[in-house]
Structure formats: structure tokens, C-alpha cells
């Protein structure tokens, strides 16, 4: 019997793209900030991935932020990609971004334009082939959504 793709290592390289591994090794904006306005700790107790997100808001947009944590390459690089992409965005823009990330990860229809707006985040798409790891990729995004839905005003 044959299970899984035939080209295991190709799938692997697609998931652990060089952008992903780069973000994993050198996470962006991981230095904690002082006087943050809102912060949240999110984790997945089953695999132990955790991320700590801090936001500083000025006139309704993200002025500064930090994301730090522990866990697998996917959760941590996804957090770093997130950190790189929400600076200077307002609540609605961030919510749209989160929706688009989810759409991509869950293989739902996504317009060309929305896809382009993802930029480097698109590197996470390879995770799709590893369904059990999708929750690693979405950990930071789900945490960010909870945080801003609760705290940030539009």
C-alpha cells in the first residue's frame, strides 16, 4: 500500500520554504516593547507552541508591535511574518488580512488581488499539505484576531 505523496521531500521543502526557515531563524520584531497598549498570550497546549503579541496603537493604527514565543518552525515563522505585515494598519485592514490568510490556508476562493496583498505571507501556503500543522500556522493570527476584536476600536 502507498500512503502520502510520492515526493515527501518536495512537499517538505514547500512547507519549509526558505522564507519560512529564514523567519524561524531570525524572527522579526521579537524584541519585547515597553508601554504596549494591548497584549495577549496565545498557546496550543497540545504541542506547546506559544506566542506573545504586544501592540502599540496610535490614532487607530498599529504604531509598534512585538511578537515573541516558543515552538515549531511553522508557528514561529508565521508569527514573524505577521509582525512584518501589520505595522501601520488599522483594525479593519488587519481583520481583512487575517481573513485572507485563513482563506489561503483553508484553500478557499481568494481573489488575485487579495492573494497579492499577502506578500511574503504566501510562503505559508505549503503548510496546506500538512493538515495537522495548519493550526500551528494560524496560531498567531487567531490570537491577533481575538486581541484586536476585543480591544482595538475601528
Amino acid at each position: 500500500m502507498n500512503m502520502g505523496g510520492l515526493s515527501g521531500l518536495d512537499d517538505l521543502n514547500e512547507m519549509y520554504e526558505s522564507i519560512i526557515l529564514d523567519h524561524y531563524r531570525n524572527p522579526r520584531k521579537s524584541e519585547k516593547i515597553e508601554n504596549s497598549d494591548f497584549e495577549i498570550n496565545v498557546n496550543n497546549p497540545f504541542c506547546g507552541d506559544e506566542l506573545f503579541i504586544q501592540l502599540k496603537i496610535n490614532e487607530g493604527i498599529v504604531d509598534d508591535l512585538s511578537i515573541s514565543g516558543n515552538g515549531c518552525a511553522i508557528s514561529q515563522s508565521s508569527g514573524s511574518l505577521l509582525a512584518e505585515s501589520i505595522q501601520n494598519l488599522n483594525k479593519d485592514q488587519i481583520l481583512i488580512l487575517i481573513t485572507n490568510v485563513r482563506k489561503m490556508m483553508k484553500d478557499e476562493d481568494i481573489s488575485e488581488e487579495d492573494r497579492d496583498s499577502l506578500g511574503d505571507i504566501e510562503a505559508l501556503e505549503g503548510v496546506k499539505k500538512f493538515p495537522v500543522r495548519i493550526k500551528c500556522a494560524l496560531l498567531g493570527w487567531a490570537g491577533l484576531e481575538d486581541l484586536i476584536k476585543d480591544k482595538m476600536t475601528s
Binding site: 500512503m3 502520502g4 515527501g8 517538505l12 512547507m15 497546549p45 504541542c47 515552538g71 511553522i74 500543522r133
Partner: protein, 404 residues
């Protein structure tokens, strides 16, 4: 001499490819693979003599009853127990819950204490937490992080200890607990001992009469049998005294509108139509193990374990959980890397066809005590080989290169 090539041929799944690679199955502590004989016995029952047990005079029902009871006999023989002291449950977890509900709640009070170790599977931890909450008794922990030490047990054991419930072999650290030292300690006292045999019965000789233990719990699916069925062994005088676990058909001998009388052992604890097909298949699995010989299985796994532990000791960045060499360890090895997360290791190895477990191994507090929330684990069975371990370490080298 055992012929390992022939043994491998008994397991159809070991021939399969996973992600284009030959399967190397190193997740035996989670569940074992099944030989063809076991698989076939299930379809034979449903195809040729499917019928309910203990209820009919017709030929099929008698045949099914005989096969079902023969399964029990074979399991009894494997652990050297009287047949009527073998109770079918769903798994180790249910066996432990049965003891908690039918014995512990009625025999333990707030003045008593229960001793378990810090390395128990959640099934042997959460169950006693609940008993402690319901009865008010104290739950005491024996720390076996660095190995079992009888003197440390003596320090926390006293006249109020009602129960010691302990794994025979840790599913995380691989330690084998010298049960005979504990039974010697409690002999002549009122303390009862439960041995969680989920990881021992499948892999080593376990003789309940020799060990002189009160209860033994194990799951068929970890010993080449099917999922959905497990075993509770109990000493007869205890089982006779205990209240039923579930109520309904089969567990009664006489029923009126007001009351009922319980059936004899073991049926008192087996309410409702049992898992007939899987009981039959469990008997086939027990025979399969006996034919190879539990001693042979154990020695093979000890050899694999030593070989792998030795290999691990040449890696700086991989740490094996637990003491590597001064304690008796079976074929279960958990490890962490100082940077690479177990999930990344697991995913990478999977692409090489190597199945390992990653996560908390149903022992969250223990894993956390290592300052991590997840570990990777390899665990062996009789069909695994030194060559497979070599392939595993080659892949592990690639993991290090890939992620660093």
C-alpha cells in the same frame, strides 16, 4: 532462534510505503501493528459465526460464546491468572476507572492516601485526582524522574496508604519499575497495588501470581490486538467484594422489579453485549505473543533500546529524557532537541516514512517538568530492527542540517 524476517512478514502494514518510503514504525507505545492472524480472526467471526454470546442455544451462539471465552483463557494464560479474574473492558483507561468506581470510592476515606508517580499516564493520574476530590484522601507523588528508588517510596508510604497505583513501564521515560520491591514493602499491610501494564504486558513476561499484585490493567491494541478492548485483572477476593461498574444485561443472575442479584465473576463487571470480535482477536494476539515468547520479545527490545540510547549519547543537542544507562529501560525513548521543536522533527521524519510520536504523551506535568511542552518519542516492538534505528539516526542528522 527467532526468525525476524518471518515475523515481519506476519504484519501486512510493514510492507507499505509512506510518502514513497518504506515504513519504519516507531510509534508502538501509542499502538502496535497487528499480525494478519489477528486481523483475519475478526473477519472470520463476522463472516462465519457472528452471533451474540451467553444467550442462545443455537449453534452459532454457542460457537461465538466458546470463542469469546477462549479469548479470555488465552489472556489469562499469558499473565498466569485464573480465567474468571480476567474482565474485559474497553482499554487500560476504563480498567483503571473501573477500579476507581467499584473499589476505591468505597474503600478509601479522607484519612487515607494514594501514591502514584510523577510519570503516570493521564489515565493513571486524572482518575486518582478525581478519587481524591470525591473521598478527600491525599494524593502523594513518588518522583521517578531519575529512576525508581524504593527508599523514596518508603518515605511517603505509611499505614494510611490505601493504594499504590504505578506504571510497570513508563510510556515516556521507558523505566521498568521493580514491582516486586513494592509488593514486598506492602505485604502484610492493607495497602493495595494496581500495576498499569499498558506498556509492560505487550513487551515482557508478566506473571500476576509471581508478582502478587492486586490489579493489573492493559490494552489489547498495544499488544498486537484490536482497539476497543482492554483487560482488568483483579485478585478474586477483591473482585468478589467490589460493586459492579455498569448495570444491565449479562451482569445479573436474577432480576425482580425491585432488585437484582449480581452475576458471578467475571460477568458481574461485563454489562451488555460485549466486544465479541475483539475479545476473540485479543486471544489470537495473546497466542501470537506467547508463540514468539515474551522473554524473546523483551530481549530483542532491550537490545534495540540499548543500541539507540548509545547512539543518542553521541549527540550534544539531543537530550534523552530520563537516565540513560543506570536503570532498566524498555524500548521507549523520548527526546528533545535544544532548538528544533518536536513537531518539526516529526514532520520531517514522516516524509522519510518514519512514524514517531510527538507531543506531551499523555503525561503533561512530567513533560513540563523538563521545561518543554512537547517531546519526540520512538518506541519499538519485536518487528523493529537495528537497521531501522540506523535509518532513523541518518534521518535525524538530516533534521539537524535542515533546521539549523
Amino acid at each position: 532462534m527467532i526468525n525476524f524476517d518471518n515475523i515481519r512478514k506476519d504484519f501486512p502494514i510493514l510492507d507499505s510505503k509512506v510518502n514513497g518510503q518504506n515504513l519504519i514504525y516507531f510509534d508502538n507505545a501509542a499502538t502496535s501493528q497487528k499480525p494478519k492472524k489477528v486481523i483475519d480472526s475478526i473477519s472470520d467471526y463476522y463472516t462465519n459465526y457472528n452471533s451474540n454470546v451467553h444467550r442462545g442455544v443455537h449453534t452459532l451462539s454457542m460457537k461465538a460464546t466458546d470463542a469469546y471465552e477462549e479469548g479470555r483463557n488465552k489472556v489469562a494464560k499469558l499473565i498466569n491468572a485464573p480465567t474468571d479474574c480476567i474482565i474485559w473492558t474497553r482499554n487500560t483507561t476504563e480498567s483503571l476507572n473501573l477500579i476507581a468506581t467499584s473499589w476505591a470510592i468505597n474503600n478509601i476515606s479522607e484519612d487515607n492516601n494514594i501514591i502514584i508517580t510523577n510519570a503516570e499516564h493521564h489515565s493513571n493520574l486524572v482518575t486518582w485526582q478525581q478519587v481524591s476530590k470525591k473521598t478527600g484522601c491525599e494524593l502523594r507523588f513518588l518522583d521517578i524522574t531519575d529512576g525508581f528508588n524504593i527508599n523514596e517510596l518508603k518515605n511517603i508510604f505509611d499505614v494510611n496508604t490505601s493504594l499504590i497505583s504505578i506504571t510497570h513501564m513508563s510510556n515516556v521515560l521507558g523505566y521498568v519499575i521493580p514491582i516486586e520491591q513494592i509488593t514486598e514493602l506492602i505485604s502484610g499491610t492493607n495497602t493495595k497495588i494496581i500495576v498499569d501494564g499498558a506498556q509492560s504486558v505487550p513487551h515482557m513476561p508478566v506473571d500476576v501470581s509471581d508478582l502478587d499484585i492486586d490489579f493489573l490493567t492493559f490494552s489489547a491494541h498495544k499488544m498486537m490486538g484490536p482497539t476497543g478492548i482492554g483487560v482488568l485483572y483483579g485478585k478474586k477476593e477483591l473482585l468478589l467484594d467490589m460493586q459492579p461498574f455498569l448495570f444491565g444485561g449479562d451482569m445479573i443472575i436474577e432480576v425482580s422489579y425491585d432488585d437484582a442479584k449480581w452475576n458471578q465473576l467475571p460477568y458481574k463487571f461485563e454489562a451488555g453485549t460485549p466486544n465479541i470480535a475483539d475479545a476473540i482477536a485479543t486471544g489470537v494476539a495473546a497466542d501470537y505473543l506467547s508463540n514468539i515468547g515474551m522473554e524473546n520479545i523483551w530481549n530483542h527490545e532491550l537490545e534495540l533500546s540499548k543500541y539507540a540510547l548509545n547512539k543518542f549519547s553521541s549527540y550534544d543537542k539531543f537530550t534523552v529524557l530520563g537516565d540513560n544507562f543506570s536503570h532498566l529501560r524498555g524500548g521507549v525513548i523520548s527526546f528533545i532537541h535544544d532548538k528544533i521543536h518536536p513537531h518539526d522533527i516529526g514532520t520531517f521524519l514522516d516524509q522519510k516514512g518514519i512514524a514517531i510520536r510527538t507531543g506531551h504523551h499523555c503525561a503533561m506535568p512530567l513533560i513540563r517538568s523538563y521545561d518543554t511542552s512537547a517531546a519526540a518519542r520512538i518506541s519499538f516492538y519485536i518487528y523493529n530492527s537495528i537497521e531501522e534505528i540506523d535509518s532513523f539516526f541518518e534521518a535525524l542528522n538530516e533534521v539537524e542540517e535542515y533546521f539549523s
